[in-house]
């Protein structure tokens, strides 16, 4: 059961359908692990529906009805039929769609001895959407964010000065936070991170890497 959740503000924008695509995907993935947030979004959706019911209807002519009636026999586009053929176990559907395989089939780029990254393509030009693989007990060098960062733990867990996070936990950080997450000793950690600006390492040992940490959005 997840212990760290998106704020109601984020869930509101999520249910209203106005959160950027990459961030929406991250929240949606958290819902996969979290009954509470599912219930919260269900209620926020009810709120949307009550507002929808209360709109002043704008007349739609019969010509439009006829046009739609004429199209009822069309085959639905393939994308409506969801392919649940991937046996990725408990992974959220939205990630299954982006991955087409399991973690080991992705191409990972090694950043340090204990940290590797794999970018997934969401098509959102404003955000980087990437998986981080931290070896058991491994540490991500201390860094700040130049923008916002959403993190979702998919496997294992990590801790930083503010807490300890496990599968399904969702963490939102903004530019002012500095942290150095460390994976739990017991197993490797895989998390999803959604960023709108590249990380910036603060420790002397890794600072030289900063110019190479370009945001790979899209």
């Amino acid at each position: 059961m997840a212990k760290f959740h998106p704020s109601v503000d984020l869930l509101t924008e999520y249910t209203a359908g106005i959160l950027p695509l990459a961030q929406s995907a991250c929240i949606s993935a958290h819902l996969n692990y979290c009954q509470q947030c599912q219930q919260q979004t269900a209620r926020l959706q009810d709120l949307g529906a009550v507002l929808f019911d209360g709109l002043t209807p704008v007349p739609v002519g019969d010509a439009m009805l006829d046009r739609v009636l004429a199209r009822l026999d069309e085959e639905p586009p393939l994308s409506y039929r969801r392919a649940d053929d991937l046996s990725l176990g408990r992974l959220p559907a939205v990630l299954q769609r982006l991955m087409r395989g399991d973690f080991s089939e992705l191409s990972w780029k090694k950043l340090t001895s204990s940290l590797a990254i794999s970018h997934l393509k969401t098509g959102d030009p404003g955000y980087e959407f990437a998986l981080y693989h931290i070896k058991a007990g491994g540490r991500i060098p201390e860094h700040t964010h130049r923008g916002s960062e959403m993190t979702l733990v998919l496997q294992g867990g990590f801790s930083d000065a503010e807490g300890s996070y496990h599968e399904g936990d969702f963490i939102y950080r903004d530019a002012s936070d500095t942290h150095a997450p460390t994976a739990l000793q017991s197993e490797d950690c895989i998390c999803l991170a959604v960023l709108d600006a590249p990380l910036r390492f603060t420790g002397w040992k890794y600072r030289w890497m900063n110019p190479f940490l370009q945001l790979k959005a899209g």
Partner: protein, 199 residues
């Protein structure tokens, strides 16, 4: 049932319980026997709401709004079999389709090249315990009942966010308010409507 009587005076024109059941019935008929008459009834009720939704906040042109109405109503027909009257009210279901189609249309218009559609975002496990469903029905009636008691400034922001599809930041810019004010109005409204889940 008492709750519906009260809401009749609130000025919020949501369908009464009986009418909501009528729309569920239409969807069930479409799913069972591709009933075009039922679809036509559904169309006459919902298409004008979808059009209003498409045009609110003048986010879409008239042409795109018409395109959205067609797309949404066609999807209602195609997905009717996935509708479960035990899980959701018909209008919540239609609203969700309309919202997803609009989000996808925005992304298409912005030329996003993405493998994801808004439909893919539905969580894998829907809340399925009977208790959760009962809660959800109550919550809907309650929201409807309490909506009329919201101060206008809070109701206005909710409409901007949910109907016009404005982010908190866009709503703040448009109303010339600090972002914090917009966020706190949304939060207050959510508390007043009693939809905040304790955790």
């Amino acid at each position: 049932m008492e709750e519906q009587d009260k809401s009749a005076n609130s000025g919020w024109q949501a369908p009464s319980g009986r009418r909501t059941d009528e729309w569920s019935e239409c969807l069930t008929l479409i799913a069972a026997s591709e009933d075009r008459a039922a679809f036509t009834r559904l169309f006459r009720h919902f298409a004008p709401l979808v059009k209003a939704f498409a045009l609110s906040g003048s986010s879409l042109s008239a042409t795109h709004a018409d395109e959205l109405v067609q797309e949404v109503m066609l999807k209602v027909w195609q997905k009717a079999r996935a509708f479960d009257p035990e899980k959701a009210a018909a209008s919540t279901w239609v609203y969700t389709i309309a919202r997803n189609c609009r989000t996808d249309m925005f992304r298409r218009l912005q030329k996003f090249d993405t493998p994801l559609a808004a439909d893919d975002f539905t969580p894998d496990q829907e809340p399925s315990e009977p208790f959760a469903m009962l809660q959800s029905r109550r919550s809907r009636d309650k929201i409807h009942e309490l909506m009329g008691t919201l101060p206008p400034d809070q109701a206005q922001i909710l409409a901007k966010v949910y109907m016009e599809g404005k982010s908190h930041a866009e709503a703040a810019a448009e109303l010339d308010l600090p972002l914090g004010t917009v966020k706190s109005r949304v939060r207050l409204a959510i508390q007043k409507l009693q939809i905040q889940i304790d955790r």
